[in-house]
Amino acid sequence: AQSVTQLDSHVSVSEGTPVLLRCNYSSSYSPSLFWYVQHPNKGLQLLLKYTSAATLVKGINGFEAEFKKSETSFHLTKPSAHMSDAAEYFCVVSDGNAGKSTFGDGTTLTVKP
């Protein structure tokens, strides 16, 4: 069994300040982990993925995430928020070979001018 918990349903930051979106996971396997972003009325877009290579993963638009097995966490960060980062973010755990992906409930990121 696998599950994902996104610890914050809403995060609000000022433009130019750091972003931290928190995600904890549970998996019986060596998981693959992903972050997706969903802008209003748009499809989900892959931000980054972890697949048992480097634990610090860099994604698009300046986002990165660090896989910490001891803490079962995969938090998403960005050094400086931009207005265009305002969106819904989903953390996803996958058992890879079995093709089953489980989504968290999402974190809404608001960026204030």
């Binding site: 994902v4 693959s32 992903f34 997706y36 009325n41 748009k42 499809g43 989900l44 877009q45 892959l46 993925k49 697949t51 989903f90 996958s94 890879g96 093709g99 089953k100 992906s101 989504f103 968290g104 409930d105 999402g106």
Partner: protein, 115 residues
């Protein structure tokens, strides 16, 4: 390259009416998924196809929902009859499962409103 294409984008129907959603995945992607996304929640898997075979339909409410993927390419998801609680966004995604990491590419979704 075109992404995952879904239609219609929006559909409004009265309860007890039927509705169908169509999905065209990325060319070459052998795995196709239908997800249900309720407001304020993450997507939940309804059904997963490997080529033309439904390999995981455990969360599909089979009394009213059906799906097919003819020839292992396009897919249709049908609801008959629709209920008020079916109002949601229906997402289609595809992936190339032999690539290792299960990276999903999503369509824009079909938003269903049942009155």
């Amino acid at each position: 390259e075109a992404g995952v294409v879904q239609s219609p984008r929006y559909k409004i129907i009265e309860k007890k009416q039927p509705v169908a959603f169509w999905c065209n995945p990325i060319s070459g992607h052998n795995t196709l998924y239908w997800y249900l996304q309720n407001l304020g929640q993450g997507p939940e898997l309804l059904i997963r196809y490997e080529n033309e075979e439904a390999v995981d339909d455990s969360q599909l409410p089979k009394d009213r929902f059906s799906a097919e993927r003819l020839k292992g390419v396009d897919s249709t998801l049908k609801i008959q009859p629709a209920e008020l609680g079916d109002s949601a966004v229906y997402l289609c995604a595809s992936s190339f499962s032999l690539s290792g990491a299960n990276v999903l590419t999503f369509g824009a979704g079909s938003r269903l409103t049942v009155l």
